[in-house]
């Protein structure tokens, strides 16, 4: 059975190719016990397993500077019998071929798969594949990785032909080796410590010239080794090797000459304009939010929950009513099971719209532009432009967003980015806004939703800023970001991604959320002796015990605390808990909203405490699944610290919000505004005095501060 590995630069279409050829038998292998995943799958033909295909992480080269590179290289070194399919993007083939040359230097005979044939054709560009085959001595295919037929015929060729790695020496290699032998071999031979100094393959020699860390680390760490390294460094040997490769590629002359700049479009003159970029971004995101939370989303949500009530809820409830008279069983099914499913499912349309918008931004290539535009601002709060994707994804679901934080190269930036996802308003928090807003601020629903989205972002940025100043300073991350071209988004791909997220959401809703809402219902409706008794249920006992802690925030009924406790499992449960508490389990948002403000509500809030409840619910601890991903991505210590900060902060902000809103309500709007302005002025004065005291360490000779070195 052949072992095939897909190797290529990031964003060349490896995974597209992987998905095109394989549709079944997924087996995700975790290697070395680390986060980088090698996807491995069996390729079947006519029911027979014919090959194992491995999708390796995207890498620019085979030196061992970054983690992905090291993993890929180790894997290749260990598996010399691999058949390598090297995917390159036809649009920037010259740059991508560097990796191909390295593979050949290493002793492999890769099959070169030039992707994006369709785009090249559209632009009337031409790649001389025949010449490539001759000069490199490898088989070359020009295709479109999305086209199943083309991909299949390539794999058919691989499976039926001999793809053994016969060693081929590229013309420039002799020159590099000669240079090494005449000039540098002696330096290494002269090392006193003879460990590892005698045997070098040609590949090793080139890698030594490239100052490959892993090879150099094999030598003992002595002065003479460091001096030798310095000689290599002064001679710019890295540049020499890379220039040799580039010159060789240029000399092949395989690409038709064009004047265009790949990735840059005329429209970028406007989209990336210093002054227009941010307004344009605001409009685009505004449109997505308007569609999701405005009229379109609401119509779908209403329609969806009506359908659910009519065709699922009512028939099943009636059926259960007809087979048993037991009130406990009846209520359990109607409220706990059907009710919580209904509460979760009615938000499905909005979640779909949200993800559609996000993936549309990503697939069109606009997301990279956003990263560029916001790079400067995010750097100020200690993040990087690449954090934008994680932040936007966390409006969908903070669990999946946290996973995307691994794209960040720098560890401190990764921790900061991961920790801010729970502050964002994920789709599960939306029902809370919707219910509370329609109960207390029925005329300003959209405004309420938007302001809490903004609150989440603002607080997250503050947290990141403080973390950056105090503990997690971002080292100067070498920010180099490739600009993908604008592409017409592939509907198929987007639908697939949205579907994947929805599937996960429904699985979660169907398993963990359902189980927990059943448990909550039982805790809610049984007393300590497990008898059906709502008056002194287990949950109300617990909530009554701890709710005094929350009285300063204005939560004067234990039901509020119950709902927040349940929200720890998943934010989706908060609303269904409110419903169950007020005896409206499984009914529509409007009914739950009315029940909150009606007499006898155990979820009693005033306008001021409604605001503080929303603040608290937006900011307090992440849900269980996000915590579990956080632990996996950034470790227990940072997760614990992050959750603690989040809880204290949410308490403080909710407290302040409660007091301010109360003040406004009691003393009137204008009096409130005047007080706030006075408060702001006092704060500014205090801050100024503080900074004057702090500036004491002026330079003695000139009015400059510390930065002066005289």
């Amino acid at each position: 059975m052949k072992k095939i590995a897909l190797v290529g630069n990031p964003n060349t279409g490896k995974t597209t190719l992987f998905n095109s050829i394989l549709k079944t038998n997924e087996h995700v292998g975790n290697w070395h016990g680390v986060t980088v995943e090698f996807k491995e799958k069996l390729l079947k033909q006519n029911g027979k397993e014919v090959a194992v295909i491995t999708d390796l992480p995207g890498t620019y080269s085979l030196s061992s500077f970054s983690f992905e590179e090291a993993v890929t290289r180790d894997y290749l070194l260990k598996n010399k019998d691999l058949t390598i399919v090297n995917i390159v993007d036809g649009n920037c083939i010259k740059k991508n071929l560097i990796l191909t040359l390295e593979l050949i230097e290493m002793g492999f005979c890769p099959i070169l798969c030039i992707n994006m044939a369709n785009e090249l054709k559209k632009k009337n560009e031409y790649i001389d594949t025949k010449k490539l085959e001759q000069e490199l001595g490898i088989k070359v295919f020009l295709l479109n990785a999305q086209n199943r037929k083309e991909v299949k015929s390539m794999f058919d060729w691989i499976l039926t032909n001999n793809t053994e790695n016969t060693h081929k020496t590229l013309p420039y290699v002799d020159m590099l080796i000669h240079k090494f032998d005449t000039k540098y071999q002696k330096i290494i031979n002269d090392f006193k410590d003879k460990k590892h100094t005698n045997i070098f393959s040609n590949f090793d020699k080139i890698k030594l010239l490239e100052l490959d860390e892993r090879l150099w680390d094999k030598f003992s760490n002595s002065n003479e080794v460091n001096n030798a390294k310095q000689i290599f460094e002064n001679d710019e040997t890295i540049q020499f090797v890379l220039k040799t490769r580039y010159d060789f590629i240029e000399s092949l002359n395989i690409v038709s000459k064009t004047k265009r700049i790949y990735g840059y479009h005329k429209i970028d003159k406007i989209f990336l304009n210093r002054f227009f970029a941010i307004p344009i971004f605001a409009v685009i995101v505004g449109v997505i939010f308007f569609f999701t939370f405005g009229p379109v989303g609401t119509i779908f949500t209403d329609w969806f929950s009506n359908l659910y009530e009519l065709y699922v809820f009512n028939p099943i409830a009636n059926f259960i009513g007809s087979i048993t008279n037991n009130l406990f069983v009846q209520n359990f099914f109607v409220e706990a099971v059907l009710g919580s499913i209904g509460a979760i499912i009615s938000f499905l349309p909005q979640i779909v719209l949200m993800y559609l918008g996000l993936y549309l931004l990503e697939d069109s290539g606009y997301m990279s532009r956003i990263a560029f535009v916001f790079e400067d601002y995010l750097k100020k709060v200690g993040l990087s432009g690449k954090s934008v994707f994680t932040i936007l994804m966390s409006f969908g679901c903070s669990t999946t967003a946290t996973l995307t934080s691994r794209n960040l190269e720098n560890k401190n930036n990764k921790i900061k980015t991961a920790l801010l996802t729970p502050y964002m308003s994920c789709t599960a928090k939306l029902p809370i806004y919707a219910v509370v807003a329609s109960a207390f601020f029925p005329n300003h629903k959209f405004l309420v939703v938007i302001s809490f989205y903004l609150l989440g972002i603002l607080i997250a940025m503050l947290v990141s800023y403080v973390l950056n100043k105090k503990v997690l300073k971002s080292s100067e991350e070498n920010f180099v970001l490739e600009m993908p071209p604008y592409r017409v988004p592939s509907i198929k791909k987007i639908v697939k991604n949205v579907f994947q997220n929805i599937k996960e959401f429904l699985l979660r809703a169907g398993s963990i959320l359902l189980v927990f809402s059943c448990i909550v219902w039982i805790l809610q409706n049984c007393n300590i002796k497990l008898q059906y008794n709502q008056d002194d249920s287990i949950l109300s006992v617990i909530s009554k015990l701890i709710y005094p802690i929350f009285v300063p925030l204005g939560f004067e009924s234990y039901g509020v605390v119950t709902a927040l406790l349940c929200g720890f499992v998943a934010k989706e449960i908060i609303v269904s808990t409110i419903g169950i508490l007020n005896g409206h389990g499984g009914e529509s948002i409007d009914k739950i909203a009315t029940s909150i403000v009606s007499a006898g509500s155990v979820f009693y809030l005033t306008k001021a405490s409604a605001i503080s409840f929303l603040v608290f619910a937006t900011l307090y601890i992440p849900c269980v699944s996000t915590i579990s991903v956080l632990v996996k991505e950034i470790g227990k210590k940072w997760t614990a610290l992050g959750v603690a900060i989040q809880f204290l902060l949410s308490y403080a902000v909710a407290f302040v919000a409660y007091r301010i809103v109360n003040y406004f309500l009691i003393h009137g709007f204008w009096s409130g505004v005047v007080s706030l302005i006075c408060f702001a002025i006092i704060m500014v004065i205090i801050f100024e005095i503080y900074s004057i005291f702090k500036k004491k360490n002026f330079c003695k000779f000139c009015p400059k501060n510390k930065s002066c070195n005289k």
Binding site: Y60, I238, L242, K243, T258, R274, A277, F479, V480, M483
Partner: protein, 74 residues
């Protein structure tokens, strides 16, 4: 006259003279084709002037000011 890539104006074209920095950064830039003698152009500058989009070898990418400062051009 030798200057830094970060000093170039929008749409200005220059030739790379030298790349500085640690071997990690240098390698990364060389891999992307930022070799001595190549022609670079600033295509776009970010709102706070701290990142640039540059074109090189017919494609483009974004770099931060601290990286651009390490690339000397004429």
């Amino acid at each position: 006259m030798e200057k830094k890539l970060s000093d170039l104006k929008k749409n200005e074209i220059a030739i790379i003279k030298k790349v500085e920095g640690d071997s990690h950064l240098k390698r990364r830039l060389f891999e992307l084709g930022m070799l001595v003698g190549e022609e670079v152009q600033i295509l776009s500058i970010s709102p706070l002037k701290n990142s640039f989009i540059i074109s090189l070898k017919g494609y483009c990418f974004a770099v931060r000011r601290d990286v651009a400062k390490k690339i000397l051009v004429v």
